[in-house]
Amino acid sequence: MALITMRQAITDALREEMQRDDKVFIMGQEVGVWGGTYAVTRGFYDEFGEKRVRDTPISEMAIGGVAVGAAMGGLRPVAEFMTINFAFLALDAIVNHAAKIHYMFGEQMRVPVVYRAPGGGGRQLGATHSHTPDVIFAHFPGLKVVSPATPYDAKGLMKAAIRTDDPVLFIEHHTLYQIRGEVPEGDYVVPIGVSDVKRPGDAVTIVAYAQGLQVALEAAKQLAQEGIEAEVVDLRSLRPLDMGPVLESFRKTFKAVIVEEGYRTFGIGAEIAARLQEEGFDYMDAPVKRVAQLEAPLPYSRELEQSALINADRVIAAVKEIL
């Protein structure tokens, strides 16, 4: 086991997959000569050459669509959007093409594309560059959407994403690149569509993923100091969504708080809360709480931005309201 950053974990997964399968290649803005805007592909251009590490023009629609065509033609593209905010320009390629083609043509074609998209708030990038729009993409059957919270999951999920014959959106929260965690040597895969209990407990279920998971774990740590043992469930994948561990935990704790960095309205929490009342109503002891981004465009000014975002204090307050 080595203690590595999530950035390193993703880098390792990409490198190992490129070494394993010469159909895997990378395309995106500044992925090559520059080394990746978040330095995830640093060194790849020299190691794999310009054929497999392809710098693109600033053309999100074409990045989204050309990757689909290349995947249809038998390659396994890893197409990077510099940030998920720019993937809005490629929404049609992702939603209408990547996610539909296998189904719409009666399974004649496969689209094994991985879209990588760093994103999230908290870095004073202003309203257009700070989105956490994961739920928009997770809305559509046909696309798989994953967003890891730990280096271990990031590496294993990236490998799964590259190996599946389905299109995957792989969302990397930019504040998580520096976090460290244990990652074993060698090859392993974390299956897409499997939630994971990250911390056992019996007082309350906290459901989270990505950056929200780190916030949830911090809150759970502080709650434990007061003798409140929260169980933290990491969704890891938003579609397919695995409610199994969430429901199992809820049947034990009878209470749930859902944490997400995106907006509350029509958010992940809304979906989880609805599923809890549909599938776990008999176990419901208290209203299901949601901790999410406040409903305003994210402002630049540091304190003001932070005031809109989730944090451990807000999670703790939500937990205490229902205990």
Partner: protein
């Protein structure tokens, strides 16, 4: 041109024409639903260009896609079944008129979002170049789609990467009811290719032989190392944009003028002049096509609709 080839092209063009006319009939009867875009008038483009491709070359187009499917060799029975929403359709009844495909013939569809397939065709070309094959992609599109972002981003990227793709604009003079002059600031399509330093030429899309020669030479040019390529094929759709088009945007005179250049008529006159066949022999081909259409309709009508569980089948490869 070899006589047998001319007759084969004639047969294919009549097949497309009769297939489309039958579709219109079935639409009126309520057997075909959704949107239906007919190719009548444009037959020489699909037939001439696809005749010039080799089997390994790819074809991809927009929603006016029946002709390309027929000409690559997809089974008319399964195409008609798709239009009727049947489980035996090429896309299992899930695609419909706008989403025909036949991957076994390297025909990748049939796409309903204007311009959405242009990067897909570009990506197919990237895959071939990556695999170091000599295959090229014929990426067809309407004149209207040259105004969408996908078009410009794709041509630029293909140019930067020297991809083996021919962008074929089927300029039928209108995007729905908006003429090229009213929609394109640079109404001359080939000037759009110039913006991406791409070789481009204009082709008379009513003459199947001219289309064939142009595409042949363009594929050769790609093999000689000049890629990507651009063709503007000038043509006209004799019918409306789709079923129920009020046809308010063009005059009867204009339509009549173009109908005088009916690509099937032009080829027929050529065949007769060259003594490649007699009038009777051509009529016999017409009858044979008629039988193929009848058989396709019968097959489609007798085929089952998709089973209820098909709704959830094929959403993912790996569940």
């Amino acid at each position: 041109m070899d006589k047998a080839i001319l007759l084969d092209w004639y047969r294919q063009m009549v097949l497309v024409r009769r297939f489309e006319q039958k579709c219109a009939e079935l639409y009126q009867l309520g057997k075909i639903g959704g949107f239906l875009h007919l190719y009548i008038g444009q037959e020489a483009t699909a037939v001439g260009s696809i005749a010039a491709r080799r089997p390994q070359d790819h074809v991809i187009t927009a929603y006016r896609d029946h002709a390309h499917a027929l000409v690559v060799g997809a089974d008319p029975k399964r195409l008609m079944a798709e239009l009727l929403g049947k489980a035996t359709g090429v896309s299992k009844g899930k695609g419909g008129s706008m989403h025909l495909a036949s991957v076994e013939h390297n025909y990748w569809g049939g796409y309903g979002i204007v311009g959405g397939h242009i990067p897909l065709g570009t990506g197919l070309a990237l895959a071939e170049k990556y695999k170091e094959t000599d295959a090229v992609v014929l990426c067809y599109m309407g004149d209207g789609s040259t105004n969408i972002g996908y078009f410009h981003e794709s041509l630029n990227m293909a140019g930067v990467w020297d991809l083996p793709v021919i962008y074929i604009v089927e300029n039928n003079q209108y995007g729905m009811g908006t003429s090229v002059a009213r929609a394109s600031a640079a109404p001359d399509m080939v000037t759009k290719a110039a913006g991406y330093a791409m070789p481009a030429r204009k082709v008379n899309g009513m003459d199947v032989i001219e289309v064939y020669n142009a595409v042949r030479e363009t594929i050769d040019a790609i093999h000689a190392g000049v890629a990507p390529q651009f063709l503007e094929i000038n043509t006209y759709r004799f019918e409306g944009h789709s079923m129920g088009d009020p046809l308010r945007y063009r005059t009867k005179d204009e339509v009549e003028k173009w109908r005088g250049d009916d690509p099937i008529g032009i080829l027929e006159r050529h065949i007769l002049k060259e003594n490649a066949a007699t009038k009777e022999e051509l009529e016999q081909i017409d009858d044979e096509v008629e039988a193929v259409i009848e058989e396709a309709v019968k097959f489609a009508e007798e085929s089952p609709f998709p089973a209820p569980e098909a709704l959830f089948e094929g959403i993912y490869v790996d569940n």
